[in-house]
């Protein structure tokens, strides 16, 4: 099986599940479809031979973020299909704007394609975990530490926001 076939299969899975995420009525089903979509995007990263990002993507997105989503859905007891519908005009406007944005962006990129120069293979190793770790901890040391501060602040913020407020007597 050639790489192109694998790419087409993975892309079909990605786009179909992303669309089903939005279309399906039950939020639990949406979350499950989103997990499948994330896994197929991790497959794309593996096709690029970007092992580190594929691993991190599965751990962070399919692991942490989706568990958070599912936990919130179950906490709010939203797994029923009683969502009121939007007006038909709003839905139509959403569909039309989707089509227009898609059309314009695709047209722009098709026009821009001859400008992009051809792909050159240098043959050097640039994306193994070893090289990425060196780049991350040498050139991007300060942003890396700031990312940890950001995660700490997000954790404190989430705890503070979801804490039950004391009722005023």
């Amino acid at each position: 099986m050639s790489l192109l076939t694998i790419f087409y299969i993975l892309s079909a899975i990605t786009i179909a599940t992303a669309f089903l995420t939005i279309i399906s009525k039950n939020p639990i089903h949406s979350a499950i479809y989103l997990v499948i979509s994330f896994f197929s995007i991790a497959g794309h990263y593996l096709l690029f031979n970007a092992q580190f990002l594929a691993l991190v993507h599965i751990i962070v997105y399919a692991g942490a973020i989706m568990v958070l989503f599912l936990f919130t859905i179950m906490l709010m007891n939203l797994n029923k299909e009683d969502e009121p519908h939007k007006k038909l005009a709003t839905k139509l406007a959403a569909a039309v704007s989707f089509g227009l944005v898609c059309f314009v962006m695709l047209a722009v990129f098709i026009k821009a394609m001859p400008i992009i120069d051809t792909y050159k293979q240098t043959g050097q190793d640039f994306q193994s975990i070893k090289v990425l770790g060196k780049v991350l901890l040498n050139e991007y040391m300060v942003p890396f530490e700031f990312a940890s501060v950001l995660l700490l602040v997000a954790m404190i913020g989430a705890v503070l926001l979801s804490k039950k407020e004391k009722s005023i007597q």
């Binding site: 939005i22 859905i73 989707f98």
Partner: protein, 106 residues
């Protein structure tokens, strides 16, 4: 596996990312359930990350992948805070329909 972009072509990845991003836009406009809107935002972030990795391979440069790593950290923080906000909205309104949030409308 080394010559992936010679076999597939960068343009296919650009088209895939554009379609994924537009699906995300469609989700934000189409649904009124705030959780599904969050999921659409995640889809949009993923589309951009995919294009970052594609161009990182195209230019044979690790910096694009480092940037994707940071954007994943930001996405994780965003989801944690956003879901906490949703939980507190749900406590106050007992629904997460965004059309109910019009107290500021005057």
């Amino acid at each position: 596996m080394q010559n992936i972009l010679q076999q597939i072509g960068i343009e296919n990845y650009i088209y895939l990312s554009v379609i994924l991003f537009c699906i995300g836009i469609f989700g934000v406009l189409y649904r009124r359930n705030a959780i599904i809107m969050f999921m659409s935002i995640e889809i949009m972030l993923n589309a951009v990350n995919l294009l970052f990795v594609a161009f990182s391979t195209f230019h044979q440069d690790a910096q694009g992948q480092v940037f994707v790593f940071f954007s994943m950290a930001v996405a994780a923080a965003e989801v944690a805070v956003g879901l906490a906000i949703l939980v507190s909205i749900f406590r106050n309104l007992s629904s997460i329909d965004i059309d109910n949030l019009k107290n500021l409308k005057g």
